[in-house]
Every structure is written in structure tokens, then in C-alpha cells.
Symmetry: C2
Subunit: 215 residues, 2 copies
């Protein structure tokens, strides 16, 4: 049996009765809350269990270790994002690049806004765990979907769609991170996130497309 990269991070057992489903959900929510309330150094299995109204032993029945709690949050978020992009990719007809770029930006912002606390909590995990090892397949899904969307532009084409995809997503991620961060909250940057994300995606993607014109 080959050891997977995500071994020791997956849930330990599946909830069968309904009460255990409630427990798992409570632990998820508590993970986020503890992440927001304390700093990473005080993120503790005991604290999460307390906040979830559950004993530590129960927590360890569904999560093999502390890292798995963070993993679950991260994976949830990225899968929602990937799913959203795939939905757009399969629904979109050929259209002007501006429209496609806008829909990519809107999707990104929508997912981030759907659960702001989870989003903020995510940003605190960042360096704590190896993000790639945890969810490289999810990133691949996102890349493929966005690439597919870009292919539907009827007024532009990309010489290097992979790079264009990587750059938009990374730039949107940076803008969202900055806006959700504590720097932004005081200055009302969050209100502009939607419009600025659109502007950013549209402008960059047009530039990236026209860069390949004479190739």
C-alpha cells in the first residue's frame, strides 16, 4: 500500500448517526473561531474541543491530529472555489474576454465573501502547513477550469494560457487577502473588493492576451 501525501490528514471515520454529523460540523466551526480569537500559537486541540462543546477524545475520533483540523478548513474553501470555476466553465458560452474576466473575478470574490470568517481564518493558517502537499489536485482543478473559461473568449486568445491563469488567480488572491486583512478593514477596502477585482482581472487578461498577438 503506497503512502499518500495526505495520509494522516483525512478524517478518521465517517459520521454514521446524525448526532456525529453535528459534532463534526461543530468542530469545523470551532476551528475557525479559535483561529480568529487566538493566534496560531494558541490554536489547541483542547481549545477547539471546548469551543465545540465536545471532549478532546471525541475530536480525535474524527481528526487524526491537530493539522487535520486546518487541512479540513483549507480543503473546504479551495473545493468551493474550484467547483464554482467549473460551474462557470461549463455554463459559459463564447463571449468577449471582458465578460469572462469579470465572471472569474466575481466568482472569486463571491466565494471569499460567502463565509468571511472562514476566509479570514484561512489566512492565518497560510504558513502553518504545506499547502501544496495538501491540495495540489484542487489547485489543478482550478487552473484547468479557469484555462477553459479563457478559451471561450471570442475576441482574444492566449499564447501562454497557463501563465495567464496563474497570474490572475495569484493577483486576485493577493487583493482579497489584503482586503480581508486588518489593514483593509479600517479603511473600508472590502467595499471595493468586487469592483477592483473585476478591474484587475479585466485589465490584466486583456494585456496578457494581446501580448501573444504577434507570435
Amino acid at each position: 500500500m503506497k503512502a499518500s501525501a495526505t495520509d494522516g490528514l483525512k478524517p478518521r471515520k465517517q459520521p454514521i448517526q446524525s448526532r456525529s454529523g453535528v459534532t463534526v460540523e461543530a468542530i469545523h466551526e470551532a476551528t475557525i473561531q479559535v483561529l480568529l480569537a487566538e493566534d496560531l500559537g494558541r490554536f489547541t486541540t483542547t481549545r477547539v474541543a471546548d469551543r465545540a462543546g465536545v471532549s478532546v477524545g471525541t475530536l480525535y475520533q474524527y481528526f487524526p491530529n491537530k493539522e487535520a483540523l486546518l487541512y479540513a478548513i483549507l480543503l473546504n474553501h479551495f473545493e468551493a472555489m474550484a467547483t464554482e470555476f467549473e460551474r462557470i466553465a461549463s455554463n459559459a458560452e463564447n463571449a468577449p474576454l471582458s465578460d469572462l474576466a469579470a465572471s472569474i473575478a466575481d466568482a472569486y470574490v463571491s466565494v471569499k465573501m460567502r463565509n468571511p470568517e472562514a476566509t479570514k481564518a484561512m489566512y492565518r493558517i497560510a504558513g502553518a502547513i504545506n499547502q501544496v502537499r495538501l491540495s495540489s489536485d484542487v489547485f489543478a482543478r482550478m487552473g484547468r477550469a479557469v484555462g477553459e473559461i479563457l478559451g471561450k473568449a471570442n475576441d482574444a486568445s492566449f499564447a501562454d494560457p497557463k501563465t495567464a491563469t496563474f497570474t490572475v488567480l495569484a493577483a486576485l488572491a493577493g487583493l482579497a487577502r489584503g482586503s480581508f486583512g486588518e489593514l483593509g478593514e479600517d479603511h473600508g477596502v472590502l467595499d471595493n473588493l468586487r469592483i477592483e477585482s473585476r478591474r484587475l482581472a479585466i485589465a490584466y487578461l486583456h494585456a496578457a492576451a494581446s501580448a501573444g498577438k504577434n507570435a
Copy 2:
């Protein structure tokens, strides 16, 4: 005496003899190395001291606590960035927006590239400490300098320069983070960082400028 937000994070004493200057520098470097070698949970004062070839006691003569080690790295990096932007702001003559945008992007990438290990180490700290509390004045310096640079465009003007500044910097940060991250290293994204950063900054800033035309 009012308590400052950065109390308990500043260096404990200034090096007087030359050997102590060497020690402090060794601790800085060791901080980065430990950050890269182990994950955040195993970032330990003892480990940093060992790697620096120094005893823990010595470490605590210059840093009041573990957090201060991270703070020092972060502050170093951001101050280098702010200084670079200020240098550009005071040297730049009136010029086309494209040139100014390119110089902003170049400066950003240059600082990040100057010490890639420190850059990568920084990304691991992220959520571990309250970034704003630590260095909000440095961020203000960066914002002011970039705003000043944008003001020198002789072919464009900004209705909302603060937002434009925030968005470029956040987007560039996201792109850099993604490129330095482990996702990017395998795919050679780092080679494109310079050109993509330029493209991103130029495209967005033009869009942001023309957005205020009819106001």
C-alpha cells in the same frame, strides 16, 4: 508612559562591541533558516540559538521573546520595500504611466528577489503575528511613496489614488507569494515573475486611471 503597540517586540539592547553585532546577525539568519527547515510549530528559540551557534541566554539578551524574532524579519523586509519605493518617488521625473508602473513592479520584484530565503520565510510567518500592529507605519510609508509616484504620471490621473495604490500593491504581493510558493517552484513561475508583475501593474493602473476620466 503610554504603552506602545510594539512594546515587548523591540530589541532588548543595542550591540556595543562588534562581536555582539555578529551575534545579532547570526540570529537573524538562523531565524530564517529554522523557519524554512521546520514548520511553524517547531520554530523554537532553542533551535534558533543552536543554528546561530549561540546559547539561548544570549538570544534573550537581544530579543525579549520568540515573537520578536519574527517581528525583526518582517520589519526588515517591509522597510527595505518602503525605502526602495521612496527612492523611486524622489528620483522619478514626470513620465508616462507605463514607465512608472513598470518601475513600481520592478522595485517590488527586486526587493523580493534580493533575498529569496528571507522572502519565503516571511510567507511562513503570515498568520502567526498581527502584521498591522507590528508595522502599520511602514505600510503607511509604502502607500505614501507609491501614491507620490503615481502622481508623476504625465498622461493619466487617478480619481482615487489610495485605492489604486492599495490594489496594485496587494496584487503584486499575491503574484509574488504565489510565485515563491511551492506551487510555483516546480513550474518555473519564478522566471516569469518580473515580466508578469510589470504586465499586471501596467494594465491595472491604466484601467484605474481611465476609470476616473469622466468624473
